[in-house]
Each structure stands twice: as structure tokens, then as C-alpha cells.
Symmetry: C2
């Protein structure tokens, strides 16, 4: 019997603030980081599971310690009991009564659980010799519902209703797998739209995005209405009337400001306004949506758990949601969210970017397409062309579409050299004079 | 000019699980703990500020590291700029953009901010030579609103509306201070009601509580309906018809279960059902409240921030709320919550117990009485007679009422010997054979 022999963590940080990539209205100077975890086993094949929480710098150490705090529930377990019942494994981690006090099911501890659960999924998919999306999408409906913790969901979605959704999607699975393998999954790009960029850079990148085949681009907004109006007008002029143009305020506004601001931007045919206000504020999203209809409203990248997503759907607060692979409690909770979205007929347009988020979330979108919602309508995965070179199995985006991953696992594994160079605070990138880095890591 | 010279943290844990005190439906074996912080200064008088996050054991180390991660925003600041503008100080901590990613404003990082903000308040009140409740209750309405971060609140409460609430309460302040000093503030007790207790112990403690002058007692429920029905019936029989009887499910139920369970318990005249479901689920609380009216519904001890409290009020989801002194971002955010509660006419019945929570929250309830709601109607502070001996200025509850604290500060300071004995994992209580502790700490 093989065992999980260690849970090793690494505080990995990329000095992205040096270039202002990733700047937005709430996050002026992020250092994209990963609180990274490796589950080791004594399997003779060298089987491991890799996972991480994405953060933007300070606090990555706190997040790393939180992952360490889960070791007592993981190390010493047989590999088979973990990967053989990932629903039970995820519930064990969220049910630790003492750690639960620090959430429950939110923030640092919950994200730590998500990283460990995702690492176990990476291990399970590698063990099965399949990319994660295919490993899940080929499970039976019964196996998939067993992954979900229905606690606090049953007023909106019961196990039986979830089963019905999955069974309805079963007949078309093979056709959709074939289509996914040949055509990929639509992407959209945020690369032109960071707040720190000049108008010229914005225009050049927006033009390049359209030429690259992207059908949607997104701009960051929320700091200055005059500047936002100018940038939105410029972007619309460059991309023409047929490319979708979304905007993202990164939680900057209260209700009244959001409504007033979006009425100014609406004439440029906005595909959606993302994170207009606090991610905790279901009722504010609903109020904003009613006031600015028909401009679609969305949120989700900071939505803490399935209970909040459930309420966004119940309150008619959103037209679409951004799921995030590393914010909630891992693959299991994201499947719950995808099932809720399917039940309520809400589109899923995943959040990505950062470091490794594209690599992870593509799998979840593909699971949704094959086994849950069964559709690509109005859907696209965010894409930022940034830091992919640090991963063993990086995303491939061709002509505005994500290619389906083919390697076994969750595409979560970072290159050893990248981990070593970016360890904080001792790694080469943090200790060397940036001028002296003979082979600078592309940031 | 005096400076803050250090932020020192301590992982302090009490082995309460050895006695099953504090056991409830979700927390079977808590070890009451404090992630404790001391802000040191070079003030010649030895001025310090003390604060803490309450946890129930595992994860107290994560919480302690999170407090450490705030040191860069605190150490090296002049004492005067911190205690002279505590609104700005609290906003500085919540606005750190990189740490904000780990919340925002929830969970481990937000509780860490709360501990440091509360420690700064302890320092400010000591510097002023007043107990915290009096220090705040004697501020002008303008000074009090300046403490509040109105971001995400303005759709429910504006600065002007808050000012009006405070000004309306101004005329009666001195009378209420006099009444508080002479009569104290009502308490209620949870001591009889822990799930781990036998029926005999429950009955004896409930009888003693009534004899001690408590007008409300509370029982933990939620694990087994038959047992809960028996315990509620027994308690009602022992305390008679005139003492209020509340129950607390500690988040155990989904909506349907909560409704069915409470319909069974309702005949015994339930004062409120506390935490029937997820603390994140505003809409579920509203649904439960509609279904079981007129039984009052409450929540709050796990409510993560002012945005969630705001929605509970907006959605008519609660009849009363349990504020907690160490869950949200400190005194400032609790003042925001008290102002919201006053605006919506919702009663505040603070959560306490644990370790040190009674010591802290009494000040907040007294601020509410003197300067905000101006009333004691239907209000009481939870009291558990447990671990108070570890504090320099412990609560005094006489004939079912909290006496107003008279010593300068926030009553947050733990005895040095208690900190040293209970340091985890190296302290005497954790390393010695329990039988050998010559002078065992009462647990």
C-alpha cells in the first residue's frame, strides 16, 4: 500500500510589481505569488500531487503556513483512500472543527484547503494517466455528485437535482469531447487593459488581440471616470463593433457610484461589468444589475465559497460568474458552483491570469462543457499571457482558443528551477541585483 | 516623540477539550486559544497595547503568523499618529492591497487586523486614563463617525445618517452613564447549555443561573432533535415561565432542517434561535425567519464583516445580532455594525465566552448603550464564567449584570504568568503531565 509521506510547501513569488503588469484599481503593485504545495508519496513511480494558492505578494507566507497546518490530516494516509474518494477527502479538510473557526470556509484557511484538495486531484489524474478535465468528465453522474458537499445548498440545489443535470448532459459527452479536442475552448484576453498601461500600449495590444483571434477583450476601470471613458472609447474604436468589450472595476465602487459610472460607459456596448463592488455584497450586485440593465453584471474571482455563489444566483444578482480555481475549496467546491450555475442558467466565464490560474481553470471550464452545462454559448476563459513558462505543462492558446490539455494531471506543476529561483526571500530573483541576473526570468 | 517599537505575538492555548467545556454541535472539542499581540512603545510610562484573536485550537499558529505579517504597517509609527487617528490607522491595515487579496476583509487576515486595531484601542484608552467604553462614549459624534469606513455601506447607511443617530443619542448620555455605573448591563448565561453536559448538570446549572439573577439562559442544540426536545423541556421546567430560554445551533442546519427543528422546539417559548445555518447565508436566514415567525432569528458571532451585517439587516433576515469583538476588523468595524443595527432597529446581543471575549465585548455593548442605540431593551451580553482569572481586569458579573469596567484600557490584558504557562507548544500546561501540575489552572 502506498502512502502520502510528506506535504511540502514553498513560498514562491514573482517580482511583477517591477513592471506594473497586473495593476488595477485595487491592486496597484502586485507581486504575483504562489503558496505552493507538493504531496509526496512512496509510490515507486514517483507519484506526486501539486497545487497552490495564488496571492499577490505580502501574506504569501501566511498562506504557506496555513497549508502546512493541514498536514496532520494528509500525511500518513494511504494514497488509495485519498484519490479513491476525493469527496470524503475534501470534506475531512473542511470539517476540522478547530480550523473551521478561522473561516468557516473562507479566506486563508479555505484557500489552503483548496490547494491541498487540488494537489490531491493532480495526483489522482496523474495516477489515472489522464488530464484532469477528462478524468472528471468521464466519471458517472453518481461519482460526480458524490464529490459535492451539499451542506447549505439544499434550498437551491439538491443531490437529486444535481444528478438530473449531469444525466441530461450525458448523451452528448463524446461529441463534445471530440469538438473540444479539435477546436479548443474560447479564450478572452485582459492583456491590453491594465490600468498602468499608456493609451498607446492599450491600443496596440487591443489591436493585436483582435488580430490574434480573440473575440472578447477586457479593460480595468474604476479609478478615474474621465480616463476610463477615454480608454473604453479608444478600445472600442480599435477593436470595432464585433469584438466584445468587458470592463472590470475590481470591487472599487459602492452601489450609487457603480450605477453612475456604468451609465457613462454603457454607450460603448459593454459585454459585462465585473466586480463592481464588494464580492460579499449579493444584494448590492442585485441592485446594480437592476439599475444598469441590460449591461450584464458579474463577479466571482473573490467569491469565497459555494454559499455566496448560491445567493448570487438566488437573488438574480449576476448574469455571469467568474469562477476561480484557487479561491474556493478546490475542484469539489467548483463542481458544486458549476452545478448551481447550470441549475440557474447563469454563464460561467472563468477568472484566470496571475500565476498558474489559466493552467488550472481551463480544466474546470472543460468539465463544465463536457459533463455539466454542455454548452460554450457566451462562455470564454480569461487569458493573460504571463508566467506560463514556469509550468511543466503550460496552457496553449491558439487563435483565441485554449487547446485541451493532453498531459496527465491538473497542469499545476511548476518547474523545479522556477520554484528555486523565486523562493521568497532567499531565491535568486529576490537576492540578486536585477541588473545582474544573467538570464532574467521573463516577467 | 514616542514610537511603537515592537509588535510581539504569542500563541496561547488553554486545554479546555480535556473537560468538554464549550462543546457544541459544530465544535466538539475546542481548546480555547488566543493569538495574542502586544504593541510596545518607548513611552517612559511603559505604555503598551494588548489585543488578541480568539480561536479554538489548531490554526492558532496560522493566526499568530498573520498578526506578525502586519508589523511593517505598525512598528516605527509614532504613538500619537496611531492613537490620534484610529480611523486612519484601521483603514491603513485593511487597505494593504497585497494582504487584501487573502480576504478581502474576512478570515484569518481580517481577524489579525482586528487584534492589532483592538490593541491600538487598548493603548489609546490607557493613554487617556479611561476604560475603553467611556473613552469612546465621550467622543463627539463627528469623532465617532470618523472611525468608520463607509465603503460598501452607503446604500444602507451614509455618514450623515450615522451622524444623526449619534446626535440623537447625545442628550441622554450622562444619565445613561450614571445608570450604567450604578446598575450595570444585563448579562445572559450559556454555562448550563453545553452539549457535552448531562441532563442533571444542565438542570443544576440552569437552576443556579436563575438563582444568580440571570434573566436569560441559552442551550446548545442541533445534533439530535429528540435530545434537544428533552433538554429544552427540562430547562423550561427548571427555570419557569419568566426566564428567557434561547437556543444556539452553531450553523448546523440547512433551511428545511432548521425550520422543521425549530417548529418542534417553539412550544417552549424560545427567546431566539442563534446561528441556524451558515453565517454567510443571508437569504437562508431570511427564509428561516419567515417560516418560523414569531420565533426570533439571530446570527453574528461568525459574521465576517460589516458588509454581511448590512445585508442581514437589508434582507430582514434577523431579529437580533451577536456582535463579536475579535471576529471583524476591531472596534472601528464594530461601531459601523452598531450604527447599522441602530439604523435598522435590530437588537444587539453580543457574543462572548471563549477566552477574553466577555472582557472585550462588554465595552462595545456599553458604547452602544451610551452613545448609539441609547437603550437596553431586549439586550444582554453573553456570559460564560470561564478563564477570566487569566486577565488583569476580569469582568465582574453580579446578580446577572456586567459591572462597568473602571480600569483604563480595553480589559484585554492577560496575566504574564498565564501567557507563559499556556504558550503552545512549550508552556507548562502543555508539557507537564496534567496530574503533576502543582497548581493547576482552572479550566
Amino acid at each position: 500500500m502506498t502512502m502520502i509521506t510528506a506535504l511540502d510547501t514553498f513560498d514562491v513569488r514573482f517580482p511583477t510589481s517591477r513592471e506594473l503588469d497586473g495593476s488595477d484599481a485595487m491592486n496597484p503593485d502586485p507581486d504575483y505569488s504562489a503558496a505552493y504545495v507538493i504531496l509526496r508519496t512512496d509510490d515507486p513511480s514517483g507519484l506526486e500531487g501539486h497545487g497552490f494558492v495564488f496571492t499577490i505578494g505580502r501574506g504569501n507566507d501566511v498562506q504557506t503556513v496555513a497549508i502546512d497546518s493541514l498536514a496532520h490530516m494528509v500525511v500518513g494516509r494511504p494514497v488509495e483512500t485519498v484519490i479513491g474518494d476525493l469527496g470524503a477527502f475534501a470534506r475531512t479538510l473542511t470539517d476540522d472543527s478547530q480550523l473551521r473557526w478561522l473561516g468557516p470556509e473562507k479566506g486563508v484557511v479555505h484557500m489552503a484547503i483548496g490547494a491541498v484538495v487540488n494537489a490531491a486531484w493532480d495526483m489522482a489524474a496523474k495516477h489515472a494517466g489522464q488530464p484532469l478535465w477528462e478524468f472528471v468528465a468521464r466519471m458517472t453522474p453518481e461519482q460526480i455528485v458524490d464529490l459535492v458537499d451539499f451542506r447549505y445548498l439544499t434550498d437551491a440545489l439538491t443531490r437529486d437535482e444535481a444528478l438530473e443535470i449531469l444525466r441530461s448532459a450525458e448523451p452528448g459527452r463524446e461529441d463534445r469531447i471530440a469538438r473540444l479536442m479539435s477546436e479548443g475552448y474560447p479564450a478572452y484576453t485582459t492583456s491590453p487593459g491594465w490600468l498602468g498601461y499608456s493609451d498607446d500600449k492599450l491600443a496596440a495590444l487591443a489591436e493585436a488581440a483582435v488580430a490574434d483571434g480573440f473575440e472578447t477583450i477586457k479593460l480595468k476601470v474604476g479609478l478615474d471616470l474621465e480616463s476610463d471613458t477615454r480608454r473604453v472609447r479608444l478600445a472600442r474604436k480599435v477593436i470595432g463593433p464585433h469584438t466584445r468589450l468587458a470592463v472590470d472595476a475590481n470591487q472599487r465602487w459602492d452601489v450609487d457610484t457603480a450605477v453612475a459610472w456604468m451609465r457613462e460607459l454603457a454607450p460603448w456596448d459593454i459585454a459585462w461589468i465585473e466586480e463592481p463592488t464588494s464580492p460579499d455584497d449579493v444584494l448590492a450586485h442585485a441592485a446594480i444589475r437592476r439599475a444598469i440593465a441590460p449591461v450584464p453584471v458579474s463577479t466571482g474571482e473573490h467569491c469565497q465559497n459555494r454559499v455566496m455563489f448560491k445567493q448570487l444566483f438566488q437573488a438574480d444578482a449576476v448574469d455571469l460568474v467568474q469562477i476561480d480555481a484557487a479561491r474556493v475549496g478546490g475542484v469539489n467546491e467548483n463542481i458544486a458552483i458549476l452545478l448551481l450555475a447550470a441549475k440557474f442558467g447563469v454563464r460561467v466565464v472563468p477568472h484566470a491570469g496571475g500565476v498558474g490560474l489559466c493552467e488550472l481553470v481551463q480544466h474546470l471550464a472543460m468539465i463544465d462543457y463536457i459533463a455539466i452545462s454542455g454548452t460554450l454559448d457566451g462562455r470564454a476563459i480569461e487569458f493573460v499571457d504571463h508566467l506560463h513558462e514556469h509550468f511543466i505543462d503550460p496552457v496553449e492558446v491558439v487563435r483565441g482558443r485554449y487547446r485541451a490539455p493532453r498531459h496527465p494531471g491538473f497542469s499545476a506543476q511548476m518547474r523545479e528551477q522556477s520554484i528555486r529561483d523565486h523562493l521568497y526571500p532567499g531565491g535568486r530573483v529576490w537576492t540578486a541585483d536585477p541588473e545582474e541576473l544573467s538570464e532574467p526570468v521573463r516577467l
